[in-house]
């Protein structure tokens, strides 16, 4: 038995030695190991499935290390040996001994092609942390919703850092993209032979440092680990800065892919300092202390021409938590305005649709219809019954196009976290293109608005002259202005009441209006009011550096609120009510031809604009009965 055991043991020993030799050969083969992986750990750790479930912590212990990081030098740590971070004694044997957690402040060895390894340590960063808000004590005391995020003893650096990756240099230095790989060809003339240097590595390393180490959104993800965790926020009495950031213009732009907008560090780390010494706003040395914010905003990269007052802008404004402020009041006012202006119009549409559902029909005024036919038979009748002049129709269609473009380029900013927003912005070619389109469409809209105002002035002047020539002298301009057809009159309001009464079944006959119905007049005023507000606030926000010299930064918050809520009001009005009236209404479906030809179908004209028919008949001398509208 003993002999057998020895023989077997010897055989196994020989087999094992052979296996070890083969293992070493395999490690040296091209498919097995690579020069960069100095400790050959990837021989096993390159497999994604090298892992297990830890029943004690109910976590996955994943031992996989992405070999492409090492092989392709994806980051500076690709030059480290595994044992530069992991204790050699614990990992040099399989199965590994219980591993000592990695200490990021230990000294490692940076390998360089033509020089001996250099010693390096992150101890400096650890020391700096003690001078900032994120001290070791603070980090050690963090308690998260749902339990700890790190394993016991793991480096606290992992809250913010993982394996560092070089960013795509072409995205940082566009010249590299333009000349493709030729940069390296030129460098390699010397650095391939005489002065050996891995030019690819160094170019990527340096290029990466020309931009933040992480993209804006990635940075927000890092900060959100703590700054949006309810338990951490409650323990440290902090607001949800991430939520308010994404409600700011900066955060919205970040969500839509803007890499040039301010990220967390843009404001919270002062020039010349670094992230490890970040301080709270109450500390006079902090980049976001009230005394430093103006300079932070007015850096060359951000708002260089702005006044100090721009710093009064509430960057982290979150309306629900800002009750009692003027910002909250203005937002509330606009919401109330939206409800009371949209509500009645929506009610009219819904009641009209309800009439269709129940099959209630309005038996139109036969006399009025006959009168309309007589007017149409008059040589000048068809022209006079035009409700929309060619110039007005042209302006309407230009307005339609610009409004659509403004919505498409502007609304993604209102709902930046929606997937369609990012897709839409990308379809325009990115946030930069969309922004330019939005600005210039806004300018065109304002220009069109001014042209329209000019048209009104010309019409008023012409009407005033007519009055003047007739000898109807007193206050001719005022009366000409008051006679413009878009003003809501007492009669309009009376008819509106009658319309509601009719729609709810309290009145038998549907009232009829003059040239423009009450809903059309409200829509028109909505356009005037909306264009004015949106144009004004849009210009304020676009030219923020100039505006800041005249207004306090708080005005930007108000302008943003007004701009966004007014745009929302306009969109729901147009998107729901106006689209119903001119497209979805069965009487005009698929499109009201009045928007193209200016002609309203006679039956619709008689039903909705009967007064206009009667007035036109009178002006043309077509005989009418006095009581035709009663």
């Amino acid at each position: 038995m003993l002999v057998n055991h020895r023989t077997h043991s010897r055989a196994r020993g020989f087999g094992f030695c052979a296996a070890t030799l083969a293992f070493l050969v395999a490690l040296a083969s091209p498919g097995g190991a690579h020069a960069e992986d100095r400790d050959n750990c990837l021989y096993c750790h390159q497999f994604p499935g090298l892992s297990r479930l830890d029943p004690d912590s109910a976590r996955v212990r994943l031992f996989y290390v992405d070999p492409s990081y090492v092989h392709n030098s994806h980051g500076p740590h690709a030059r480290l040996a595994c044992t530069d971070c992991h204790e050699r004694d614990t990992v040099s044997v399989v199965p590994h001994k219980p591993v000592t957690p990695v200490d990021c402040t230990r000294t490692c060895h940076l390998a360089t092609p033509n020089a001996p390894p250099r010693r390096f340590s992150h101890e400096n960063a650890a020391r700096m942390l003690e001078h900032g808000a994120h001290t070791r004590a603070v980090l050690e005391g963090l308690e998260f919703t749902g339990g700890p995020l790190l394993n016991a003893g793991q480096s606290l650096c992992l809250y913010c850092h993982d394996e560092p990756v070089f960013r795509n240099p072409a995205k940082v230095l566009h010249a590299i993209e333009d000349i493709e790989g030729r940069t390296f060809d030129r460098c390699d003339v010397c650095h391939l032979t005489q002065v050996p240097l891995d030019t690819t590595y160094y170019l990527r390393h340096v290029a990466t440092r020309f931009a933040p180490a992480r993209s804006t959104l990635e940075l927000a993800q890092v900060c959100a680990v703590c700054h949006s965790d309810p338990k951490v926020l409650a323990a440290h009495d902090l607001p949800n800065s991430i939520a308010s950031y994404v409600r700011s213009f900066h955060g919205k732009a970040a969500l839509l892919g803007d890499e040039t907008t301010a990220n967390c560090l843009s404001c919270h780390v002062a020039a010349g300092d670094n992230v490890h010494r970040m301080l709270g706003p109450e500390d006079p040395a902090s980049a976001v202390h009230v005394s430093h914010v103006p300079n932070g905003c007015r850096t060359i990269a951000c708002h260089p021409g702005a006044d100090r007052s721009i710093a009064a802008t509430a960057v982290h404004l979150d309306l629900p938590t800002a009750r009692g402020t003027i910002d909250f009041a203005v937002a509330l006012l606009f919401i109330v305005l939206t409800v009371i202006s949209f509500g009645p119009s929506a009610l009219i549409v819904l009641l009209e649709l309800a009439h269709l559902v129940v099959g209630r029909q309005h038996h139109g005024n036969q006399h009025l219809y006959a009168l309309a036919q007589q007017v149409m038979a008059h040589p000048d009748g068809p022209r006079r019954l035009h409700r929309f002049a060619p110039r007005a129709r042209l302006q309407h269609w230009i307005l339609t196009l610009l409004f659509t473009l403004l919505c498409l380029t502007g609304f993604p900013l209102k709902f930046p976290d929606q997937l369609w927003s990012r897709a839409l912005i990308d379809a325009f070619g990115g946030i930069g293109v969309a922004r330019v389109l939005h600005h210039w469409a806004g300018i065109a809209l304002v220009a069109g608005f001014l042209v329209h105002l000019l048209d009104i002035l010309v019409a008023v002047r012409r009407r005033a002259r007519e009055l003047h020539e007739k000898g109807d002298r007193p206050m001719t301009y005022f009366r000409a202005f008051a006679a413009l057809p878009f003003f809501v009159t007492g009669k309009d309001l009376r008819r509106a009441g009658q319309l509601i009464a009719y729609l709810v079944g309290l009145r038998r006959d549907r009232p009829t209006f003059a040239r423009f119905s009450i809903t059309e007049k409200f829509e028109y005023f909505g356009v005037l009011w909306g264009t004015s507000l949106l144009g004004l606030t849009g210009l304020m926000l676009w030219g923020e550096q100039i505006t800041s010299h005249f207004l306090t930064g708080r005005a930007f918050n108000l302008a943003t609120i007004v701009h966004t809520y007014e745009a929302f009001l306009a969109v729901i009005h147009v998107g729901i009510l106006h689209i119903y009236n001119v497209v979805l209404n069965p009487a005009v479906f698929p499109l009201s031809l009045a928007t193209l030809s200016g002609h309203t179908p006679l039956t619709k004209l008689v039903e909705e604009n009967g007064e206009f028919v009667v007035q036109t008949a009178r002006e043309l001398g077509v005989s009418t009965q006095e009581s035709i509208l009663e």
Partner: protein, 389 residues
Amino acid sequence: MNSPSLPADSNAADAPRRGLGYWLRRAALSLVRRVYALALIALVLWVSYLAVRYLVVSLITPGQAPRQIADVPKRLDPALLLERRPDWLGLASVETPRSPLARYHRYDNWLQADRFNGCTQSGCHAPLPHAKRKEDRAFLNLHATSIHCGVCHLQNAESPLPLVWYGLDRGEVREPPALLQLFDWLSRHGPELVAEKFGEPEQQRVGDLLAQAGAEGAAPSLARLAQHVRAVRPGSGALRQLIVSAREIVPRDLRGAYGAKLALREPGANRPLLKHPGTDEAVRRYLQEAPTATPERKQELLAAVHPLRREKPLMCSACHTPEQTTIAHTDLGYPPARVRALHAPAVFQMIEHIASGEPFYLPAVSRPGEPAPAMQPAPATQPANGGAP
């Protein structure tokens, strides 16, 4: 909005002369109009509700971090093994998504979830089922990405085993993984053939396989390489250079993430055998009773759940052998170079050595000023379990 009543009234006078068809058409039109109006009412109400709700919520509900920021896995929970990376919007939204916090190393290639593995989907076994022996549990779990549990744990007397590839997307039998096919193609077009002109068919073939391999879970670099391959001219030096690059890159990706796994073929059918057949009820009963069952009852329940269970699972050497008596790698589409690597005895013999309870010291690279590498211990004695993993 009422229908234009005046012309309609004039038609009404002719009503007696209209036929049935007219009245049916009129009734149908009326019905369509009413349904249309009803749909519009619903639409207007719904959109209005959404609009007003948004306004109110925007003013009274404190904001939260959006999914693009918050929807990232923060812990390496087992649930991660049941999902795929794009399921997290926060990861899909950024250039270089970070790993769950407790993990320092990059984690770009997520473990591919196997939604068709009856053993793990039943709720009985974890996706990484080997957890007992420290010496080999991680090595055994390593195989879970490319081999179904049944290959080692289900009874089958055939030699070699009747195996098929099944896709992780649909759970159906499929051809060998694109990565293996690609490696095969590249192996056959060896260094001596690099000087040849690659034409359009080769370009198409390599491009398709690269793209497919990238889509099936290999490194993203393969998908990018596919774009490059498709972009250059057939027969050009650029295409040849790309194929040379592919020859260098692809072997590094042979790490078991194929988008497909090997499984036993179901007897008499062209289907993978992904669970013990006819055990759904037994599984349900086990999960229900096991927590409170006596040891004897538990054994009884387990026996009902595992009718095809192998008494002793396959060991490493059963498959990693040039004889291909258990797994016919060549027949399953493994290229010769890969077969040679799988059959190299070094690694699995090492693992069996470790499994016997003997430590294995890695051949560390010595550096100036550091101690020499540790020496390998004396050969192992008779393992306690005969070397079975």
